[in-house]
């Protein structure tokens, strides 16, 4: 992996891009895959009898297989293509949640969830007069497993947790969480375990079999791919779930008074898909898989360790506060911080003037920020194209442009 794999850095030579958690830059192979498909192979999928169409269908379904392998899912038919993780979570809440949640049931999420994995459950709970329970965090930004046990009960129908926090970077112990759900959640109707892997997919290997989850979602655009999303669900659940969007492709038969749904996954893929971008997602999965998790993790951990070390020095000077685990092994991808006496917007703008791209906001996690006692933080996040030099330039700019304002 090299910065030169990514064309955007040819165009913007001075750009220090530290906002991969918002969206990842795309390697040439992904851009080429999309372009090539549109230029040379574009045709409808699943319906055509002519060679171009059959070829497009084959390529499309091959991506389904690739993604299944990427998340260690047993069956490609459990992979549904959506627009992004937000849409995937909304589909679970609406199609599955609406059918199975009743008045008095509980839905459990954590304090660190992104709004995409909070608001759909909030809306569902209100609609069904169910209770939304929020598992609190430990002071160093981990899920409080003791609190999780307390919040689970016999009426728990859905537990939805992020694999990795997009603010704290915390890597959550999904297997421990699943064990707790089995032990303390409803026995008769086993609670369904949803994993939001939007932030983790680019940084750590996923295995739905290891996690023991029932649903998993992620976004292609964070995985160095185009803007398509994935929803994985266990086959039995998907087969019994009502569809979300209805229309063409998701039916087997349509009569005047009734319709028969198509089989999974097509039941959940109404209308014409964004084929070109799905092909691009396949190329992104290939790109990441070719590099290999050992290299990716080693690369990012090294950058994170440098960042944590330099921030620790700023914390000792009383200038900065870093949120989330202090240990580089317990976190990945992101680091959120505040600077004493300097508003996050000002930190972000000052860094932007030096060509450094960071994110300053609540990062779609207002609930988490309230519990941290701040309204907004500044976040840096790493991608495959980041180098040690990027981290150094970030800290130089922080020191020269931002810290002068930190002294009152």
């Amino acid at each position: 992996m090299r910065k030169s794999d990514f064309p955007i850095f040819q165009k913007h030579k001075k750009l220090v891009y530290l906002d991969t958690a918002a969206t990842a830059q795309k390697p040439e192979v992904v851009i080429d895959a999309v372009e090539d498909f549109l230029e040379d192979e574009n045709a409808p999928v699943h319906r055509s009898l002519y060679p171009l169409g059959e070829q497009a269908t084959e390529k499309f379904e091959a991506v389904r297989g690739k993604v299944a392998k990427f998340i260690h899912a047993p069956d490609p038919r459990e992979i549904i293509f959506t627009r992004n993780a937000t849409e995937s979570l909304n589909i679970i809440a609406q199609a599955f949640g609406r059918a199975c949640v009743r008045k008095g049931d509980t839905i459990v999420v954590s304090r660190m969830e992104h709004h995409a994995n909070f608001v759909p459950w909030l809306v569902l709970a209100k609609e069904k007069k169910a209770e939304l329970r929020i598992v609190e965090l430990t002071p160093d930004g981990h899920i409080d497993l003791e609190d999780l046990r307390k919040k689970l009960n016999r009426r728990t129908k859905i537990v939805s947790i992020a694999h990795v926090s997009n603010v704290l970077g915390t890597i959550n112990p999904l297997e421990k969480i699943r064990k707790a759900i089995r032990r303390y959640g409803g026995k008769a109707a086993r609670p369904v375990f949803v994993v939001d892997a939007a932030q983790s997919a680019p940084h750590v290997p996923l295995s739905v079999q290891k996690f023991g989850c029932d649903f998993l979602v992620f976004s292609g655009h964070k995985l160095y791919g185009p803007g398509v999303g994935v929803l994985w669900g266990r086959r039995e659940i998907l087969e019994n779930m009502p569809p979300f969007l209805t229309g063409g492709q998701m039916i087997r038969e349509v009569r005047d008074d009734d319709a028969v749904w198509n089989e999974v996954p097509y039941k959940f893929e109404a209308g014409t898909p964004d084929t070109a971008d799905i092909i691009g997602l396949g190329a992104a999965v290939d790109y990441v898989s070719r590099i290999g998790w050992a290299r990716i993790i080693r690369h990012e951990r090294a950058l994170m360790a440098v960042a944590l070390r330099r921030f620790a020095a700023l914390e000792r000077r009383g200038i900065a506060v870093v949120y989330g685990p202090k240990n580089a092994r317990e976190r990945c991808g992101v680091l959120s911080f505040t600077i004493q006496n300097v508003h996050p917007h000002d930190v972000g703008s000052l860094l932007a003037e030096e060509g450094i791209a960071v994110r300053a906001s609540h990062h779609c996690a207002m609930s988490l920020h309230r519990s941290l006692g701040v309204n907004a933080t500044v976040r840096i996040s790493f991608g495959l194209y980041n180098e040690r030099r990027d981290v150094d330039r970030f800290f130089d700019a922080l020191e020269t442009r931002v810290l002068p304002f930190a002294r009152t």
Partner: protein, 133 residues
Amino acid sequence: MKHDLYRQNLLEDARRPRHFGRMANPDEVLEAANPVCGDELTIFLKFDKAKRKIEKASFDGRGCMVMFASTTRLLDYLSGKSVSWLQRLTPKKVLAVFNAPLTPSRQECALMPLKALDELKKRIKRGGRVKDK
């Protein structure tokens, strides 16, 4: 294009703002907040006896440098201005008073004082009046 936002006296106006402080007996206490970033602003206004002209203006709150500087600069203008001047105050004018290059994402910060004044402006437009304290 380098935005010299922070080099144009922004620091001065943000760190040592003019008109900063709660007012003793204001006629109007107008609030605005931006939940996205936590900025909070209160503008205090005192009018003349006829309630037609602003006699005094001050502000309190917490927020980013852009919000502080913009509010300071706008309040430089407020004293002595009529209610009808207030009604004619637009986002474009507020940004012109701010007079520093702003990316679209920071414009909301600069327009916070206008957001606070909007409550009074809407009330007057509906036929209401300046409050009598």
